[in-house]
Structure formats: structure tokens, C-alpha cells
């Protein structure tokens, strides 16, 4: 299968969604599961293939699209398709158990979101990246608001405004690049980026930084994020946390290393990441709304990822990628469980985690929590220790101390939730889980444990991805070879 189908299939499915709806709800839901399953299985096939690979669609040269898959994007592709598959399975239960009036709308934008985010990581043309960026953005605005409730609509509008601002910066940056170099091919830009007038180069870098940084929720451009998370449904939050934020992160660092910005801006991004981590974890302490709480937690983890990915050392980046994958799985798990709880209790107070009675949900939720905290034998621990080990090897002890100290703050609210869950004095209501969810959540939890006890499963890919990120010459070769 050509790489192009990664983009095409979701788009087609997205457009066909209303027709599926007419065939019946099961056809609608089944189509989504089918699509994500196909994509996931296809991605798994790519793990055994030598990379990078390229495929081109030329409408009429030079108009066309070229996709390049290298090891770095493969890791993200795995995460995205897997998360998408899990969410689509989860939705089987969700729309059965809940109000399904907006079902069609959800599936349209869900498929679109997949298309956009996958396109963003595969595209090797900066203008196409922008287009996919916009597709992802629009579908996320719509997903945030798809329920048409007050909070959701507010979130959607806010997201839209912020998204537009970010787009403006990116468009300007691309424009400047094109004016300076005369190409939008990432490979060419990367090769000739050093030729740009330094002042303009700074401007371009900053504009890209602001644009993608805003979307990737980096401090101080992330003040909007908690509102969006609070307004959206929980499974949408899972998508935001596991796919959308990660796709922006991908582009951010992909360009960061390709354009050789790592020599100048490492310290800036690392410190901003650290501040993001610190501020969000502290802010999370006082939250009373569970979705908002995990929004801050997501911001905090993104902070660590920014710190580690910008660190310019292969050990740390490998650890960060592991952590990224682990975080995606864990956060997805948490948000999906929260979705079950919220749909039961019709409330988003943090006390709902103390009100339910279900051994299975408690166990998987605690596994998710402990994994994010980085406690063995769960996958988060491996990620965290790899990051710390990387920092230690580069003798960056301040970063180690910082991460560990703030992690204690993080532990405060996570264990407050766990204590709430274990509190026997609260009256507990039993919560129906649903058959599909048993599978989905078990798979996620098992993966967390599996990566925790047998990390080489994942470290293999993260190491390859790190190499691909830091030594991008083969990627560049392919990107340059795009004959458009």
C-alpha cells in the first residue's frame, strides 16, 4: 500500500460517513473501526521494512503531494494509528451508552483528524505540512465543539482563534522561506537554511517556533489549552493528548533538527519546557475539574518532552521518545476511563474517581497514573529513567534535579486521586464498563506493563527514530529526490 493511502483513506471515509450513517449506525461505527484497523495493521507492516520510503502523488507537476516515511515518523505513525484504533473501538461503546445524535459529525471529524495528523508527519513539503496542519486544526476545533454544548462551543471557538493565530505565524514563516530560498521542499530548505540572511533566519525560526509551539502547548503560549480540554469530551481529550499534541510536537522537532536550529535554541526550548513542566504541575495541584486536571498533567508531560527532545543528545531523545509513546498510551487510557466515569456521573468534579466501584477500572486507572508518574514496573518509569540517564550522561544535573523535584509535586495530585479512589468511607456506585472497553482498556494497560517489563520492544524503535532524527541525511536524500 502506498503511503498516500494513509491520507486518502481517512479522507475518503470521512466524506463517506453520511452514507455509512444511512446504512445504519453499526455500519458507521464499523467503518471507523475498519479504517483505523487497516491503518494500524499497515503501519505494523512497515516496521519490518527498510526505511525511509517515499511515495508521490503528482496531479500536474509541480502540483502534487509527496510522503516520506522514515523511522522517526514511523514511531509517531504507530502511536497515532494505534490510538485511533483504540478510540474507534471505544466509540463503539460510547455511542451505544450515550446520546448518539452527533455521531455522524464525530466520525467525520475523527477521520479527518487522523488524515490531517498523519499527513502532517508524513509530508515532506512544508506547505503541505501547513495544509495538513490546518486540516488537523479544523477537525480538532470541530471535535472540541461537536457536542454543541456551551462549554464545547466555547472551547471550539477559542481553539479556532488560537489556531488561526498559529496559522498566521506559520504562513508567514513559509512565505519568508519561499521568498528567501524559493522552495517549499523540506529537504531543500534544510540544506540551504544556513544561506538565509541571519536576521531573517531568526525571524523564520521564531515564527515557526511560535506557530508550532502554540499548538504544541508550550509555555507561555498554552493558556488556552486547559479550557479546550475542559470543554471537550473525554475521548476527544484522549485524541488531543495522544495524537494532536504529539503531531505538532513531531513537526516542531522535525524542523528543529532538520533546519539545524538545535545549535542555537536548545537552551531556550529546554528552559521553556522546564517552565511548562513546573507551572502546569503546580497549577494542577489546585484543580477541582478532572478534565482540567489532566489537561495540566498533559501540559506538564509535554514540558518534559520539550526539555528532553531539545537536549540534543541521542540518549535523552531516545528516552523522550519512549516517554512520549508511553505517555500517549497512558493518557489515552486515563481519558478513556474518565469518559466512562463522566458519562456515568454526568459530572467532571475530581471526586468522581472516588465514587465508582469497579475493580477493573480502578486497576487500569491506577496503572495509568503510576505509569505517568514514572513508577516501575510500568512503561513511564523506563521513559523517565532513560531521560534522566540521558541528562546524566550529558552531566546536566540541574535538569535531573528539576524533573525529580517537580515530579514530587506531580505525585501529590496523582496520589490524591488514588487515595480518593481507595477511600472506603465514600459511597461507591458500580459502573458498567462495556465489553469493548474491557478489551480496549486491558490492551492499553497490558501495553503499559509490557513496555515496563520488556522495554526493548519499544526501545528498538525509539533508537531507530532517534538516529533518524539526528542523522537525517537519508531522509534528506529521499526528500530531495522528490521530483516535483
Amino acid at each position: 500500500m502506498s503511503l498516500g493511502y494513509y491520507f486518502l483513506l481517512p479522507v475518503i471515509f470521512s466524506f463517506l460517513t453520511p452514507y455509512f450513517r444511512k446504512l445504519g449506525t453499526s455500519a458507521l461505527r464499523g467503518s471507523s473501526v475498519f479504517l483505523t484497523f487497516i491503518l494500524f495493521v499497515q503501519t505494523l507492516e512497515y516496521t519490518g521494512v527498510s526505511l525511509p520510503q517515499i511515495s508521490q502523488f503528482s496531479v500536474a507537476p509541480p502540483i502534487g503531494i509527496a510522503f516520506v516515511l522514515d523511522n522517526f515518523s514511523l514511531l509517531f505513525l504507530l502511536i497515532f494509528t494505534f490510538s485511533g484504533f483504540m478510540v474507534s473501538l471505544y466509540m463503539l461503546w460510547y455511542f451505544k451508552a450515550n446520546d448518539n445524535t452527533n455521531e455522524t459529525r464525530f466520525y467525520v471529524f475523527f477521520n479527518m483528524l487522523l488524515a490531517g495528523s498523519i499527513g502532517m508527519i508524513l509530508s515532506c513539503d512544508i506547505f503541505n505540512v501547513y495544509i495538513f496542519f490546518e486540516i488537523t486544526g479544523i477537525s480538532s476545533y470541530a471535535l472540541a465543539a461537536y457536542n454543541k454544548d456551551k462549554l464545547g462551543l466555547e472551547a471550539g471557538i477559542k481553539y479556532l482563534i488560537i489556531g488561526s493565530i498559529a496559522s498566521i505565524f506559520i504562513v508567514f514563516a513559509i512565505m519568508l522561506i519561499y521568498l528567501q530560498i524559493g522552495t517549499v521542499n523540506i529537504g531543500l530548505i534544510a540544506q540551504r537554511y544556513s544561506e538565509i540572511d541571519p536576521k531573517i533566519a531568526v525571524l523564520i525560526a521564531l515564527m515557526l517556533f511560535i506557530g508550532f509551539g502554540t499548538k504544541a502547548e508550550l509555555f507561555p503560549m498554552n493558556f488556552w489549552a486547559p479550557d479546550i480540554y475542559q470543554g471537550s469530551s473525554s475521548h476527544v481529550n484522549g485524541l488531543f493528548s495522544a495524537i494532536v499534541a504529539k503531531s505538532y510536537l513531531f513537526v516542531f522537532f522535525h524542523l528543529f533538527y532538520l533546519f539545524g536550529l538545535n545549535t542555537k535554541y536548545t537552551l531556550l526550548i529546554m528552559s521553556l519546557g522546564a517552565i511548562t513542566f513546573l507551572v502546569s504541575e503546580f497549577t494542577a495541584l489546585n484543580q477541582k475539574d478532572i478534565k482540567r486536571l489532566f489537561a495540566y498533567s498533559t501540559l506538564g508531560q509535554l514540558g518534559i518532552l520539550f526539555m528532553a527532545l531539545a537536549s540534543n543528545s541521542s540518549d535523552t531523545i531516545s528516552g523522550a521518545l519512549f516517554h512520549l509513546a508511553s505517555h500517549s498510551i497512558s493518557k489515552l487510557l486515563i481519558f478513556l476511563v474518565l469518559g466512562i466515569l463522566i458519562s456515568k456521573f454526568k459530572s467532571t468534579k475530581i471526586t468522581i474517581v472516588g465514587d465508582f466501584k469497579s475493580l477493573f477500572l480502578s486497576i487500569v486507572l491506577i496503572i495509568g497514573f503510576l505509569s505517568i508518574l514514572g513508577i516501575p514496573p510500568f512503561s513511564g518509569f523506563i521513559g523517565k529513567i532513560l531521560i534522566l540517564k540521558g541528562f546524566a550522561l550529558s552531566h546536566n544535573y540541574i535538569a535531573i534535579a528539576f524533573i525529580l523535584l517537580v515530579s514530587i509535586v506531580e505525585a501529590v495530585y496523582f496520589f490524591r486521586l488514588i487515595a480518593l479512589m481507595l477511600d472506603k468511607k465514600r459511597t461507591k456506585t458500580s459502573v458498567p464498563v462495556g465489553f469493548v472497553n474491557y478489551i480496549v482498556l486491558s490492551v492499553l494497560a497490558i501495553l503499559i506493563v509490557l513496555f515496563g517489563v520488556y522495554p526493548s520492544l519499544l526501545t528498538h524503535y525509539t533508537d531507530l527514530a532517534t538516529n533518524a532524527l539526528l542523522q537525517p541525511h537519508s531522509y534528506l536524500q529521499f526528500a530531495l529526490g522528490v521530483g516535483l
Binding site: 477559542k158 482563534i161 488560537i162 493565530i165 505565524f169 536576521k199 531568526v202 525571524l203 525560526a205 521564531l206 515564527m207 517556533f209 511560535i210 502554540t214 507561555p220 503560549m221 493558556f223 488556552w224 486547559p226 479550557d227 507551572v279 503546580f282 497549577t283 494542577a284 495541584l285 489546585n286 484543580q287 503510576l370 508518574l373 516501575p376 514496573p377 518509569f381 523506563i382 529513567i385 534522566l388 540517564k389 541528562f391 546524566a392 550522561l393 552531566h395 544535573y397 535531573i400 525529580l404 523535584l405 515530579s407 514530587i408 509535586v409 505525585a411 501529590v412 496520589f415 490524591r416 487515595a419 480518593l420 481507595l422 477511600d423 472506603k424 522495554p455 526493548s456 526501545t459 533508537d463
Partner: protein, 590 residues
């Protein structure tokens, strides 16, 4: 269920017995990490200590209704501890350490009277300890390029001095927190007192010993006592490092002892007592002499036995009566005589009284201090020992002696046999360690060789050798028994003539007749004298809780301040983004 887990608990012991001695297994986790088990004499000692403790506690659980998850978590905990003590590298050690942390957390949360605050205290301090450990281990990794203990040990002397100090401080902080050194003990008391009654015995007897094991591992194995001496220099006959640690231990022990006396809750008293006893161990662990290590090892053993005995005893009483305060208990001596005798043996050993094992370990500790000529530290240890008589007496008086404070105590039955079996075993162990103090030297000597220290000469089972005199445990215990029996026979005549079993209200009470409503149990009054002694008052009125509470409040305030940024006004967000961009641009361009 109980018997299944009893067998399951036996398995690791049998495994260790069968394959033990020279166990070296390793399993590659990633290309950097390996999980490896490597058995050392030190680890073997601690492994047997913890596994047998778990076995005994499981026996005691027979008559207490316990859920499957409780047993499973407890078994997981025992395996985690086994992983800690047999670990050959830091990754295994740390994984064991963290599994221990969270499995014990869930076990503690199974208690009926646990509250969120205590749970938070426990887990945050445990995590702080773990993070301190993780910081230490990654720093060590950055120089040794391996997490393996042997590699780190070999490359330790090549590290810069400040890194060495940082490593020692980080590891010490981590293990001190687990052992509950004063200042870092904030979690200990609440946790021990609110955990499930039988699990408190594990917490105090075994889990705190993991901190001690860690200290041994770091000081004796990774750093090495010779290296410590080289690094910090020598004071008197010991190391500077040992002197500082000595004072830390002694101060811990003194403060905790006085705090223990004023407690009203039985398990809180035992918790403080646990802190105090671990203070002794910490006081001698850094001395870097054979006697220091031997004393610390011996006291580790004895303290484990004593605290298991006392906590199981108290758990049985709490389960039987449903009361856990001295002011609510009392007068159980003739209702539960066997329990009383067991507790009596426990407190005699805890106070360090001669015929039992408690004295043997104290003797070793004191000899260690004498050996290093740390006289003031020795005086401090003796002083704390003298003060500990008060809480020992409070323990036995408050529960068993005096008057029953409520009616149901007067018709109490003896506790179930399953509680008594482990107690009897432990009491016999205390007698045995008292009678044959020399036997343990055989266990210690391989550890001393492992730490490349001189071995302690072994003459016979009954005699403990020391630098300044010998302690013949066998002689003392037999002399004690002979004289005791002799005097008992002498006054047997008195017994036969005395009016036995007097009504408990028939006491000299200034001509008045106490009634059932008269407060005759002195459980409340214990320790109030201490508040009037200036020095002790200065200790008692101070507490670490204001500091930690202030820290919590300040954190909360900071959080409140920071969360104001996220108030959701989209205009401001836009302005901030633009301003940030322009600021960066001006900085970048210039």
C-alpha cells in the same frame, strides 16, 4: 487462603535455601539496562530476615479475616524486598524499591482508620526517597556508565570529590527517609499507627530495615568504609563521617524516645520506638569498624525480632478488644496471660535488659562506640536507653497492668492461637540470641569480609567477644535463671500464706473506696512529668510538622498564584503570544 499464601511465602525461603549461596542471574532489559540478581552475604542475611518475618506475619493473619488482594499485595511486597536485597544493580534495586513503595501503599490503604493525609504523607516521603535514590543512581551512572554495583564500586574512587559527596548525601537521604531519621520521620508515625495492625509489624520490622540495608550497601559495598575514611578523615579512632552519623543517630534516638513516652496510642508509641531504635543503628553504621558494622547488624536482627513480636502482640490485643489507646486499655494481665508474658519478653529485650538478646545487641553497639572512642555518642546512646525504660513500662502497664478501663476488658479472652505462635517463636529467638550471642558472629564475619573489614574473633556460641571485655550470655542467662528459681522457691512460703487474688478495688486509696467509675488506670498520666523538665520540654514541644505543613501551604499558595495565569481569557492569551514573539525577536535579532 491463608495456608496457600503460607506455602507461597515458604517458597522463596526454600528457593533461597536450595539455590542460595551464590546466586547470580542477569536478564537484559534494554541495551543499557540489565536486571541482575547477585547474592552477597549481606543480602542473604536481609533476605532471610524479611522472608521469615513475612512468614510469621502470615501465620498471625490466620485468624484475621483477610482478603485475597491483601495477601497478594503482601506476597508481592515480599518478592519486591527479595529483589531489593538480592539486586546486583541499581535498576533491579530501584524496581524492587518502587514496587515495595506502591504495594505497601495499597496495603496501608486497606486499613479501616487510614485517612488521605497519612496516605499522602507516606507516599510523598517514599517517592521523595525514591527520587533521591534515582538521582543518586543516574549520577553514579554518568561516571560509571553502568548501573551494576560492582562496576560502580570499582569506579567510585575515580569520581570527583564533590560527586562522591553528592552521591553519599543523596543515597543517605533516601535511606534515612525510609529508616525515619528525625526530620525525615514525618511520615513514619502516622503510617505505622494507621496501617493495618499486622502490616505495621512489617513496616516497622522489615521495611525500615530496607533503609538500613541500603545504607550498608552504600557505605560498605559501593563506597566502602576505607574510601569513607580516605574521603573524610579521621576523628578520635573513627571516621569523621561516622561521627556525624553518630550524632544524627543519637539525636534521632533521644528525640524519638521522649516523643514515644508521651504518646497515648499504642502503635504511635511503637512507631516512635522504632525510630529511636533505628537511630542506634544509624549511630554506629558509619563508624567503619568491625564492631560498628557488627553492632548495626546485630541490632537490625534484634530490632526486627522485637518489633515483630510487639506489633503482632499489639495487633492481637487490638483485634481482640477493638481498642488501641493506653487510656482505653489496661488490666489484661490475668485475662490474656500468655500475651502478657510475650510482651514482657519483648519489652525486656527492647529495653536492652541483660538476659535476653536485647542486651547482646546493645553491648555490641556500645562496644562499637568505645572502639571508636566516641564517648559522648556512647553516653547519648546510654541516655536514650535509660529514657526508653519509661516507654517500655508504659507499654506493658498501659495494656496489661493497672485497671481495666471499661467493662468489656474484664471478661476478655486470651487472643487466638495463631497470633501466639509467631510470638512464641520470636520470644524463643530472643532468649536464644541472649543465650548464644556469639553464634551470630558467624553470620556477621562473611559480611565483614565482604566489606573488607577485620573479622571478629569467635570463641564459642555463648560468648561475645569485644575490644573491651566479653559478654558471656550463656553464663548470665543461666545464673539469672538459677538465682530467680532459688529466690522464687524461697518466697514460695510467702505465696502460700498470702491472700491471693484480692479484689482489684481493695487498694490503699486514702481510706476512700474506689468504684467502677473511679479512674484508677494511670494511662493518661504517663509522660506528663516530662513536660515540666526544661530540656525534655524543649524536645517535646518542637515538631517537624509545622515545617512540612508550612511547605504544603506554601506549595498550595504557589499553585494558586500560578493557576491564575490560566483563567481562560483568550484576548490576553493572544496578547501574550504576540508580546512573547516580539520579545524573543528583539532578543534574537540583537
Amino acid at each position: 487462603m491463608n495456608s496457600i499464601f503460607l506455602l507461597l511465602n515458604l517458597l522463596p525461603i526454600l528457593f533461597l535455601y536450595q539455590f542460595g549461596g551464590d546466586l547470580h542471574v542477569s536478564l537484559s532489559l534494554t541495551k543499557e539496562f540489565t536486571l541482575s540478581l547477585s547474592q552477597t552475604p549481606l543480602g542473604t542475611f536481609f533476605a532471610y530476615l524479611s522472608l521469615i518475618s513475612f512468614l510469621l506475619v502470615t501465620i498471625a493473619q490466620k485468624s484475621k479475616k483477610t482478603s485475597f488482594s491483601y495477601y497478594a499485595l503482601q506476597f508481592l511486597l515480599s518478592i519486591a524486598m527479595l529483589a531489593i536485597v538480592l539486586a546486583g544493580d541499581f535498576i533491579t534495586f530501584f524496581i524492587g524499591w518502587e514496587i515495595m513503595t506502591w504495594s505497601s501503599y495499597f496495603l496501608i490503604s486497606k486499613s479501616s482508620d487510614i485517612d488521605t493525609k497519612s496516605l499522602q504523607k507516606y507516599i510523598l516521603f517514599s517517592l521523595a526517597s525514591a527520587f533521591s535514590l534515582i538521582a543518586g543512581m543516574v549520577i553514579a551512572y554518568s561516571f560509571a556508565n553502568s548501573f551494576d554495583f560492582n562496576v560502580i564500586q570499582n569506579s567510585f574512587h575515580t569520581m570527583p570529590f564533590n560527586i562522591k559527596v553528592a552521591l553519599i548525601v543523596l543515597f543517605s537521604l533516601s535511606f534515612f527517609t525510609k529508616a525515619g531519621v528525625i526530620g525525615l520521620h514525618y511520615w513514619v508515625v502516622d503510617t505505622y499507627s494507621k496501617a493495618p495492625d499486622l502490616f505495621s509489624s512489617i513496616l516497622s520490622a522489615v521495611m525500615s530495615k530496607m533503609g538500613i540495608y541500603g545504607l550498608f550497601l552504600v557505605y560498605g559495598h559501593l563506597v566502602g568504609y576505607a574510601e569513607l575514611k580516605d574521603m573524610f578523615g579521621v576523628i578520635l579512632n573513627g571516621t569523621d563521617f561516622g561521627y556525624v552519623l553518630g550524632w544524627i543517630g543519637v539525636i534521632t534516638s533521644i528525640i524519638a524516645t521522649f516523643k514515644a513516652i508521651t504518646q497515648d496510642e499504642v502503635k504511635r508509641l511503637l512507631a516512635y520506638s522504632s525510630i529511636a531504635q533505628l537511630g542506634y543503628i544509624i549511630a554506629v553504621i558509619g563508624m567503619g569498624t568491625s564492631f560498628g558494622v557488627a553492632g548495626a547488624m546485630y541490632h537490625t536482627l534484634i530490632h526486627t525480632i522485637i518489633k515483630l513480636l510487639l506489633f503482632i502482640n499489639v495487633a492481637a490485643i487490638v483485634a481482640q478488644t477493638g481498642k488501641n489507646k493506653f487510656s482505653e486499655l489496661g488490666g489484661l494481665i490475668y485475662r490474656t496471660p500468655v500475651s502478657f508474658v510475650m510482651l514482657l519478653i519483648g519489652i525486656i529485650a527492647l529495653a536492652g535488659m541483660p538476659p535476653l538478646g536485647g542486651f547482646a545487641s546493645k553491648f555490641m553497639l556500645y562496644n562499637a562506640a568505645i572502639d571508636s572512642k566516641f564517648a559522648l555518642i556512647l553516653v547519648g546512646m546510654l541516655f536514650s536507653g535509660a529514657a526508653s525504660f519509661l516507654y517500655c513500662y508504659k507499654l506493658v502497664y498501659g495494656i496489661y497492668l493497672g485497671h481495666p478501663t471499661s467493662k468489656d476488658l474484664e471478661t476478655q479472652k486470651e487472643v487466638p492461637i495463631s497470633y501466639l505462635i509467631p510470638q512464641v517463636i520470636l520470644a524463643l529467638l530472643l532468649v536464644a540470641t541472649g543465650a548464644f550471642p556469639g553464634a551470630f558472629i558467624k553470620v556477621i564475619n562473611p559480611i565483614l569480609i565482604e566489606f573488607s573489614l577485620n573479622t571478629i574473633p569467635y570463641t564459642s556460641m555463648g560468648v561475645m567477644q569485644s575490644a573491651v571485655g566479653n559478654f558471656n550470655g550463656l553464663f548470665i542467662i543461666s545464673a539469672f535463671v538459677v538465682i530467680f528459681v532459688f529466690i522464687l522457691l524461697l518466697i514460695w512460703r510467702i505465696k502460700s500464706k498470702a491472700k491471693n487474688n484480692l479484689n482489684r478495688f481493695d487498694i490503699s486509696y486514702c481510706g476512700e473506696v474506689p468504684s467502677k467509675n473511679t479512674q484508677l488506670h494511670y494511662g493518661y498520666g504517663f509522660g506528663t512529668d516530662l513536660y515540666r523538665i526544661k530540656f525534655v520540654n524543649a524536645i517535646l514541644k518542637r515538631s517537624s510538622s509545622p515545617f512540612y505543613e508550612a511547605l504544603a501551604t506554601q506549595t498550595k499558595k504557589t499553585a494558586g498564584l500560578l493557576s491564575r495565569m490560566y483563567y481562560g481569557n483568550i484576548h490576553n492569551t493572544m496578547i501574550i503570544i504576540l508580546l512573547f514573539f516580539s520579545a524573543l525577536y528583539f532578543i534574537g535579532v540583537n
